[in-house]
């Protein structure tokens, strides 16, 4: 446990300069947006006179140099102030915190489902490398992995929402349904089925392939032969030893995929009209709302860092060799 905490501390310290780089880089990129926040705001409210524009620019700090503004941004950030959304005219942090839970639910369920079913199918495929089951699952997962998730979302909604009417077409809950408590949770879950399925398929394929490849790798290791020679039952060798060892790369992959999943939520939330964090990014782009986009990118980077810290911890708990060489 001590090992894991030490690792956690070291990783969090090294991620600070990286985060600073992200802030600076994103700030400079969005700085170059044609038309600034004042323009966007003017468009939003329908124009204004020159004096008003100057005031507005001063208010946003747009009359100062880039570096001064970056400094302002960072010092505001230190007080958890992400600035004001131009398009929505609300504090960015509020908007993000409001939109984030839906997306976390969406991604959390997709990851949980795909991890469980992907690794189980991977065990099935990896239990007998080269068997018919193995080859079928392997080709099938590759095909599934080639499907764009947003397109899969559309196809699923055509079939299950438009044709069969099993699930709602879009949104996160039935508007003005007046449902509360469990009924409301059920309603939201129903709305999440198709988007979760479209996201989960991709990751299911990924985890299946990783698990299968990992198991094939572990099969070749000598300790498997040693376990056979000790009389350990075949199914126990597969589940307790091979699958367990093969699970480790999957945990790492969870961290590596965190960024990709957040990116993927943009299109999926667009397809299913879910008012989440990903949709917020698309709204920031279409509303030319640079501060909001900046806030979204920053928040997702922090999320990615947090997910990776969690993944490192879990990995350290599962693999006793990690961080073992550190001075105690």
């Amino acid at each position: 446990m001590k090992r894991a905490w030490r690792l956690l501390l070291r990783r969090s310290l090294t991620s600070i300069p990286v985060l600073m780089l992200v802030i600076t880089g994103t700030f400079l990129l969005l700085e170059n947006a044609s038309g600034d926040a004042a323009d966007a705001y003017l468009v939003a409210i329908g124009g204004g006179d020159a004096g008003y524009v100057a005031d507005l620019r001063a208010e946003y700090g747009l009359d100062r140099s880039v570096w001064v503004r970056l400094w302002f941004y960072i010092s505001n950030l230190a007080q958890l102030d992400l600035g004001q959304s131009v398009a929505l005219n609300r504090p960015i942090l509020d908007v993000i915190l409001e939109r984030l839970p839906v997306t976390l639910w969406l991604m959390g369920s997709a990851v949980a489902l795909s991890f469980v079913f992907g690794s189980l199918l991977g065990v099935l495929a990896g239990a007998r490398p080269g068997s018919a089951t193995d080859r079928t699952l392997s080709i099938g997962s590759l095909a599934l992995y080639s499907v764009p998730s947003f397109w899969l979302g559309l196809v699923l909604s055509v079939v299950f929402a438009v044709q069969l009417r099993w699930f709602p077409v879009s949104g996160i809950e039935t508007i003005a349904s007046g449902k509360t408590g469990l009924a409301r949770a059920g309603d939201i879950a129903l709305h999440l089925v198709l988007p979760v399925a479209s996201l989960a398929m991709l990751y299911l394929a990924l985890f299946l392939r990783l698990m299968r490849a990992g198991m094939a790798e572990v099969w070749r290791q000598d300790f498997v032969l040693a376990a056979r020679a000790r009389g350990i039952k075949h199914h126990k060798i597969i589940l307790q030893h091979i699958a367990r060892n093969a699970l480790l790369p999957l945990i790492t992959m969870l961290g590596l995929q965190a960024a990709g999943m957040l990116g993927g939520s943009v299109v999926i939330e667009g397809v299913f009209g879910i008012p989440g964090f990903g949709r917020l990014a698309a709204e920031a782009v279409s509303g030319r709302d640079a501060p909001l986009l900046m806030g979204v990118i920053l928040t997702s980077s922090i999320l990615v860092i947090l997910v990776n810290l969690a993944v490192d911890m879990v990995y350290a708990l599962l693999d006793p060799r990690v961080g073992a060489s550190d001075p105690a």
């Binding site: 290791q221 300790f223 020679a229 000790r230 009389g231 350990i232 126990k236 030893h241 060892n245 060799r321």
Partner: protein
């Protein structure tokens, strides 16, 4: 002396391999003897051991007959197997205790607690210091020699009648080698086990074994008592082996290992 197992015309071919790894081997292992298998690397020694106890990779072809006294042995119960590389004979992410308990519970109806007590006793028997603590440690926390001791403890956990040790000391340094050999010898004698000891070191073989079988290029060259093989080898290959060793170390071979 009755034969524990006898082989007749045993040939083995690994999957996707064009040449046999073992060809027409006929020999037997006597009940209670210490038999050394010697031969250079690739001569088929490990293949022989794996074929005997049915541990060849899936898809290998095995011709000839293997006759066990009392039917084919159950892995882990009727024989214990010690591998060359102690580093890779453990699951790297499970504690030593968990792996020992798993083996013990596979073969005996024991509670987890009782299995742990028995595991600690086994570790004490192979002279691992602080056995209780060692149970909670992981394989990478032990030295090569200690790992091999633990592997031996697991191999003898069920009190098997046969112990197979496939070059158990080749991956270790000389001092540790001697300790491990002494430990094996002591255990085999006190538990009256049959020992199949594989090595490429003729001196080690002659010091430890009652009989020696010499292998070369997948074939059995000759088999005889340790004394016969060392003092009166019948085949020129064996004579060469013995002579090469005599050139290097002058003292007598028999009895020069503790």
């Amino acid at each position: 002396m009755s034969a524990l197992v006898s082989l007749e015309g045993l040939s083995v071919r690994y999957p996707r391999s064009t040449t046999p790894a073992l060809e027409a081997v006929t020999m037997s292992v006597a009940q209670g003897e210490k038999l050394a298998i010697i031969g250079e690397s690739g001569s088929g020694k490990s293949t022989l051991a794996r074929a005997l106890v049915d541990l060849l990779p899936r898809g290998s072809r095995c011709d000839g007959t293997i006759t066990w006294q009392g039917g084919s042995p159950a892995p882990g119960r009727d024989y214990g197997y010690v591998f060359q590389d102690p580093g890779s004979s453990f699951d790297p992410i499970l504690s030593i205790g968990a792996q020992m308990v798993e083996v013990l519970q596979t073969h005996f109806p024991l509670t987890r607690h009782d299995a742990r007590v028995r595991a600690a006793a086994l570790l004490a028997r192979v002279q691992i210091p602080a056995p209780e603590l060692a149970l909670d440690a992981y394989p990478h926390q032990f030295s090569g020699g200690q790992k091999q001791r633990i592997a031996i403890a697991i191999a003898i956990a069920t009190g098997p009648k046969l112990l197979i040790a496939d070059e158990p000391t080749s991956a270790l340094d000389t001092v540790v080698q001697a300790e491990i050999v002494a430990l094996l010898q002591e255990l085999v004698e006190s538990d009256a086990m049959t020992l199949l000891f594989i090595t490429h070191d003729i001196a080690l073989a002659s010091g430890l074994a009652d009989r020696i079988a010499v292998f070369r290029n997948a074939r059995l060259v000759e088999i005889g008592t340790a004394n016969e093989i060392i003092t009166a080898p019948r085949r020129s290959y064996t004579r060469g082996l013995v002579a090469a060793h005599l050139d290097l170390t002058t003292p007598v071979l028999i009895g020069d290992v503790p």
